[in-house]
């Protein structure tokens, strides 16, 4: 599966990449730059994992944008954050799922598997 991971903390981004590549997924990393939308469009992922606190872009707004665009609205978006109100954020921004930080590897894989089989 093609997974787009957007996470500004490089260590965490790298480890998510390692975990997912160990499971034979194709991963593209983005650290939250200005051209993230173009980057998503050109990669055409099957799943997007998104940190909701990004330096240049609000993860909640980005999710709303993705869910409003015909080309991207069918791609599942999983938001990850250390926020204690993540469930509410996920519902408000219409994200498909959420994962609290710190996460267990098995929980990350369970979410990926869920969207892989769809």
């Amino acid at each position: 599966m093609k997974i787009f991971v957007c996470e500004d903390e490089k260590e965490i981004a790298e480890i998510i990449k390692t975990i997912l590549e160990n499971q034979n997924h194709e991963v593209k990393l983005d650290f939250g730059g200005n051209k993230i939308l173009e980057s998503i469009m050109s990669f055409t992922p099957n799943l997007i994992i998104l940190d909701y606190r990004l330096p240049n872009l609000d993860g909640e707004k980005l999710t709303k944008k993705l869910k409003a665009d015909e080309k991207t609205k069918k791609i599942p978006v999983v938001i990850i954050s250390a926020s204690n109100y993540l469930e509410k954020v996920a519902i408000d921004s219409k994200a498909d799922d959420y994962l609290s930080k710190p996460f267990n590897i098995e929980n990350l894989l369970a979410i990926v598997t869920k969207y892989d089989s769809q």
Binding site: I16, A82, E87, K101, P102, N104, I105
Partner: protein, 385 residues
């Protein structure tokens, strides 16, 4: 705020002497001509006046904005500090009402807060409300002087805005602390899965590191919650959920955390869905059950009782530990009330109580030294379609 506690203590314990200010001398002098009933009436009304004056004096004496309200939330007395801070409302002084300052939601929460303390005369309660875009912490005390007069004393403390208040810093720090913890946890788990069965001792150690990270995350989360409570920004999101399922999920998490060897026995069942913030109620249950395990190291079981009463969904968590000292029982839900033996920040029960209150529910505890403790949570049942 100690001053309010002291005032309440002395005013309720003070013996009313015949030479106290405001005592009805004229009643005493008229002697036998006055019937018993009239004497009682006059004494009562004089006592009411005396107590009202006492409250007014106290309000005048305070530096913080303070007011007295009647049972219709009309402001019957205020001090200069209140007038300076909130008085310019385009109304005459004698027409000021708290309703002019509050939105509906805050008013409801004030009423609820007053209802909760009604039973205990010495208790006051605190609540955060919004007045003119400012978050104000108000301390309330209900004075039921007799059946006719009902006064509410309200003292305001304004929160200072800006990035440097203690609670703001707590919120920021707790979020930032979790980022390195995320990396440590994930790298630890990755190392563990790389080693698998090749080095059992190393994977055991990594398991212990993971448990300690979870503990650290728990502490950081608690600090974050408390900072939200202090800022008046602690909110819950309710959705229909089954308590049976929630208890099941909680037990699975307890099992994963390898807290103790206790058998957790669930009795009873609440099948219907009720409106709750699932994660928050799970947080309460986790806190209750892990406390029950922690404080009963010699016992082998913890019991969870689920019962549907006509108005509430009731959850009881019973342990067979050493119980709680009676002197500690009254303040057990206070924040930073640490147990010296077991460590921790002493925030779990404080946050649990806040969560249950946000659900319009109640939480209480009974305990007998040497026999264990029972924590009871009552959540209101509102039918969910």
């Amino acid at each position: 705020m100690d001053i309010l506690a002291r005032f309440m203590k002395t005013s309720s314990k003070r013996k009313i002497l015949t030479d106290s200010p405001g005592y009805p001398r004229q009643v005493k002098n008229r002697g036998a001509k006055v019937t018993q009933a009239r004497f009682l009436d006059k004494t009562t009304s004089a006592l009411v006046d005396w107590q009202i004056n006492l409250i007014k004096d106290f309000i005048n004496f305070l530096d913080q904005p303070a007011i007295a309200l009647n049972s219709f939330y009309k402001i019957v007395h205020f001090n200069n500090a209140f007038l300076d801070a909130y008085g310019k409302h385009g109304k005459k002084r004698d027409q000021l009402s708290l309703l002019d300052y509050l939105n509906k939601k805050d008013l409801e929460s004030l009423k609820k807060c007053l209802d909760d303390i009604e039973e205990d005369e010495l208790e006051s309660c605190q609540q955060n409300i919004q007045i003119k875009d400012k978050t104000i912490n108000v301390r309330l005390k209900n004075f039921k002087i007799n059946n006719e007069a009902n006064f509410i004393l309200l003292i305001c403390t304004e929160f200072k805005k800006g990035p440097h208040t203690q609670s703001n810093i707590l919120g920021l720090v707790s979020h930032e602390l979790k980022t390195p913890l995320t990396a440590i946890k994930a790298f630890g788990q990755l190392t563990s899965s790389t080693l698998k069965h090749s080095n059992k001792r190393a994977t055991d150690y990594l398991g212990k590191i993971d448990e300690q990270i979870n503990r650290m995350v728990g502490l950081v989360d608690d600090l974050f919650d408390v900072s939200k409570i202090h800022l008046g920004k602690f909110t819950i999101t309710k959705n229909p959920h089954s308590l049976d399922d929630l208890v099941k999920e909680t037990l699975e998490e307890i099992k994963l955390s390898r807290l103790g060897k206790h058998k957790i026995i669930v009795r009873g069942s609440i099948k219907e869905k009720i409106n709750i913030d699932k994660n928050r109620i799970k947080q309460v249950l986790l806190n209750m059950v892990s406390n029950a395990i922690k404080y009963s190291p010699k016992a082998d079981k913890v019991i969870i009782l689920l019962k549907r009463t006509p108005q509430t969904a009731q959850i009881k968590i019973k342990d067979y530990g050493r119980g709680i000292d009676p002197q500690n029982l009254k303040n057990i839900f206070d924040q930073f009330r640490q147990n010296k033996e077991s460590g921790g920040l002493g925030l779990g029960l404080y946050i649990s109580q806040k969560i249950v209150k946000e659900h319009d529910g109640k939480i209480n505890v009974t305990s007998k030294k040497g026999y264990g403790s029972v924590f009871t949570i009552n959540l209101p049942l509102k039918k969910v379609k």
